[in-house]
């Protein structure tokens, strides 16, 4: 390690920022040393994103100390922050899809030949050097469209390195990555740390924080709570600091009586997505679907619900055949589906909270052919209250809520249909610990009321904690059906990577 007297790369202290009447940050703080990977944690709405945006030059702070590499700074644009040596890698980078990887890397600062012509050869060469340094294999000549999110993040990181950024902030970079991709990202991050750069890592996943980071800073309700060395703390302590109270068991699945078969899926096939998928889900049962990202888990769920079609096979709900590609028929039969992407698929984000909650049941709300806002409001009010949605008013657009409350709104909208089968795809992605526990408790309660639940999740601990049975999907096939008492992380991971091994062996 280096001499302790060295100036920290980033110092924020007593930083505050308000938007209109709401104070997003009252007293934010963090001190990041060079050669360190620093975790920044907090519930949604704790002020992490606001603090990152201040550092990135998106927002200007209302007051407080902001020092970067020893100098007091005040960025009024992202360009200024970038020029100073700060790079922010977002959860979902926005590359130009029709340009090549190298063109994206050197956007706005392409190497030039005489006559102001773009020197492509130099561009490709420099890109390759960068990728080599990061230890990844990416073709600089390929078009960005179709690159995985993981590869897109690597490009953003490469861009930051080529700009010689001293501070890299990664905002939930692993949310959409599979296990292998996470490992590669971590290897890259450790390499950058060893070069003496400072990294800030934001994540809701504790396994990752403990695997990668050396220091952790906790924010709560817009204020700094504590900074500790990772080695000196534990998960329970950090969670307690985040929520300001002790949190009990995170995954409280209580045993529920298992009833008759509710969902029966038989030999479902869809070319290029999944093959020969059969399974059953019974009343009161939570069936977890685990597997790597891209294994076909969401595709199966979408086909069962009917937003996508399939080539062959059948779906039965309570003994009734469900027609293909007809979500309304599925809903009528008693199916509910909380999709993966709540902003794009789960909610009409610009629509009001009331209309969102009432959107699936509105046919039943119409009286003598008239559907009024009043009846929608009343129904929405009931379900929002049951799910403890927090909002200023029910006619506000859904975008005004935090991620956790948006997810509760999606759940409210579907529970209002009083379904017999609830499919949830990544029900707790990107939501804070408190809400996460609430969602888990809710799913457990619903199972107790005799609802059959299918839960897709990339978070292994969530699947193992909640599910009565775990189905593991690997490359479009169900490779394991494991009962609760036999479901260990090793058993699931083995099944999730099974086909790779057999293929490699053959």
């Amino acid at each position: 390690m280096s001499e302790p007297a060295r100036e920290p790369v980033l110092v924020l202290d007593e930083v505050h920022k308000s938007f209109g009447a709401t104070a997003a940050l009252t007293s934010g703080g963090i001190t990041v040393e060079a050669g360190s990977i620093h975790a920044l944690v907090g519930e949604n709405g704790a002020g992490k994103s606001t603090m990152v945006k201040i550092v990135a030059g998106v927002h200007r702070r209302d007051g407080g100390v902001f020092r970067f590499q020893g100098d007091d700074v005040d960025f009024s644009s992202t360009a200024e922050a970038k020029a100073a040596g700060i790079a922010v890698i977002y959860q979902e980078p926005t590359l130009f899809p029709d340009l090549s990887v190298a063109e994206n890397l050197f956007m706005g600062r392409q190497p030039l030949k005489p006559g102001r012509r773009v020197d492509r050869a130099a561009m490709y060469e420099q890109s390759e050097v960068l990728f080599q340094r990061l230890g990844v294999h990416l073709d600089p000549r390929r078009i960005a469209r179709g690159l995985s999110i993981a590869d897109q993040q690597i490009i953003e990181i490469a861009k930051a390195i080529s700009l010689d950024a001293a501070l890299l902030v990664m905002d939930e970079p692993t949310a959409a990555l599979s296990g292998v991709e996470v490992d590669r990202l971590f290897a890259v991050a450790r390499g950058l740390r060893d070069e003496g750069r400072a990294l800030v890592f934001i994540s809701h996943r504790f396994e990752e924080i403990f695997a990668l980071c050396d220091t952790v800073t906790v924010l709560r309700d817009g204020a700094y709570v504590a900074t500790q060395a990772i080695a000196d703390t534990n998960r329970g302590e950090i969670v307690a600091q985040m929520v300001g109270r002790e949190v009990g068991e995170l995954f409280p699945k209580t045993p529920a009586p298992i009833g008759d078969t509710v969902l029966r899926v038989e030999r479902l096939n869809s070319t290029g997505a999944f093959h020969d998928v059969s399974f059953e889900v019974r009343a009161g049962e939570i069936v977890g679907i685990a597997g790597l990202v891209g294994a076909g888990r969401s595709e199966i769920a979408r086909a069962v619900f009917g937003v996508d079609g399939y080539d062959s096979g059948s779906v039965h709900l309570n003994g009734e055949a469900i027609p293909m590609r007809d979500p309304r028929a599925s809903i009528k039969a008693g199916m509910a589906f909380v999709p993966e992407d709540r902003r794009l698929q789960g909610l009409i984000t610009d629509g009001s909270i009331a209309r969102n909650i009432a959107s699936v049941i509105r046919r039943g709300l119409a009286k003598v052919g008239f559907l009024t806002s009043r009846s929608e409001l009343r129904a929405a009010d009931e379900w929002a209250a049951r799910l403890h949605v927090k909002t200023h008013a029910l006619d506000m657009p859904a975008t005004t809520m935090s991620g956790g409350n948006q997810q509760k709104t999606v759940l409210a909208k579907w529970l209002a249909t009083e379904p017999s089968l609830l499919i949830v795809d990544e029900p707790t992605r990107g939501i804070d610990v408190g809400t996460k526990a609430e969602v888990h408790r809710l799913l457990s309660d619903l199972a107790g009321q005799g609802i059959a639940i299918v839960m897709i999740s990339s978070e292994l601990s969530e699947v193992l904690g909640m599910a009565d049975r775990v189905l593991v999907v690997c490359e479009g096939r169900i490779t394991a059906d494991i009962d609760r008492d036999q479901a260990t992380p090793e058993a699931v991971m083995r099944a999730a990577t099974q086909l790779h091994h057999t293929e490699a062996g053959a």
Partner: protein, 339 residues
């Protein structure tokens, strides 16, 4: 309303009703009517009002279904060509094929629905952009209309029918009888868009078609039906147009599509979909009608009238982002006042 756990509305009722694009257009319409009544001679005569209503009838009719198409985020530029085609069909079927007027009119409306279903099929089920599709069918339907009748015109319609288009509700009054079916159609459209589950789906398609799909809205069918409805109503406007002027011609209502779209956008409907309410476009049509009528009485040319309408449209489109910006800046300044 019985007690709720949540506040139903973020803003008090008067602000919700007053601070809308629709309210602004209605206010401008009221101002124009007031000014014209005071300053333009003869504007307040029953005859001026009567002709104003007769003139805006085709616009008013087409604006009703077109508003819904635009709320889904699509556009139909072929409406005026369907008016022309329907007009020609009424003429040809009545005068050349010897059909009774009833049958000729209903056939023309049915053909309008077929025209709309071609637009709807290409947009909703094939997935082509509506702008491109309806630029194509704009030319196609107009071409067929002119091809059927050439430069001729059919003018010998039965007087009972042509009179029907001009009858007043009260003899010597300012309200033509056509306002009655229009009021019925407007009420039906208002129900469909604002008080039916289908209408909620129309907005959802405009605001987020993927989320609408995941919620069980049949996105394709919603768009398809609206295009069919727009075709049928445009053809109905074509029948009216023919009777009003007693003349079936291939170039009837040439360029009318831009006026209708201008009126709908003037009425606060977002061209990007998802926003707008039916009373806005109705006020927009009446505003265009009132401005045209008042300026014509003042002896202004069509060109001058178009310039004023154009300025109104651009101003109304620019007004929203500017007003939002002002509101946002005011909101941002608020907490500082407290300090």
């Amino acid at each position: 309303m019985t007690s709720l756990n949540f506040r139903a509305h973020a803003r008090p009722a008067w602000r919700r009703l007053l601070f809308t694009r629709e309210a602004a257009v209605i206010a401008i319409l009221a101002a124009v009517l007031l000014y014209a009544n005071l300053a333009v001679s003869n504007f307040d005569s029953p005859l001026t009002m009567y002709y104003l209503f007769l003139d805006v009838t085709p616009l008013l009719l087409i604006a009703l279904p077109l508003t819904m198409v635009i709320v889904t985020g699509e556009i139909d530029l072929s409406v005026a060509s369907v008016v022309g085609l329907s007009s020609v069909l009424v003429g040809v079927l009545y005068a050349h094929a010897g059909m009774p007027m009833w049958t000729a009119a209903l056939t023309a409306i049915a053909v309008g629905a077929v025209c709309g279903s071609l637009n709807g099929f290409l947009v909703a089920y094939v997935g082509l952009p509506s702008l491109a599709v309806t630029i194509g069918t704009l030319a196609l339907y107009r071409g067929v209309a002119i091809g059927l009748l050439g430069t001729e015109a059919v003018t010998d319609f039965p007087e009972t029918w042509t009179d029907l288009a001009k009858t007043r509700i009260v003899e010597g009054g300012s309200l033509p009888l056509v306002l009655v079916p229009i009021a019925v159609l407007a009420a039906a459209t208002a129900w469909l868009l604002h008080f039916s589950p289908f209408g909620r789906g129309v907005y959802e398609v405009g605001l987020g078609r993927e989320a609408a799909h995941f919620t069980g809205v049949n996105v394709e069918r919603t768009k398809f039906l609206l295009f069919v409805l727009t075709g049928a109503v445009s053809a109905l406007a074509g029948v009216y147009f023919t009777l009003r002027y007693g003349s079936a011609r291939g170039d009837n209502a040439y360029g009318l599509e831009l006026q209708v779209i201008a009126a709908v956008l003037l009425g606060g409907v977002s061209i990007f979909g998802g926003r707008g309410a039916l009373h806005g476009p109705i006020a927009g049509v009446l505003l265009i009608g009132a401005v045209s009528s008042a300026m014509r009485l003042e002896g202004q040319t069509v060109n001058a009238i178009n310039i004023v309408i154009g300025v109104l449209l651009v101003a109304s489109v620019v007004a929203t982002p500017v007003l939002n910006r002002v509101a946002a800046e005011r909101a941002a300044r608020k907490p500082k006042r407290k300090e």
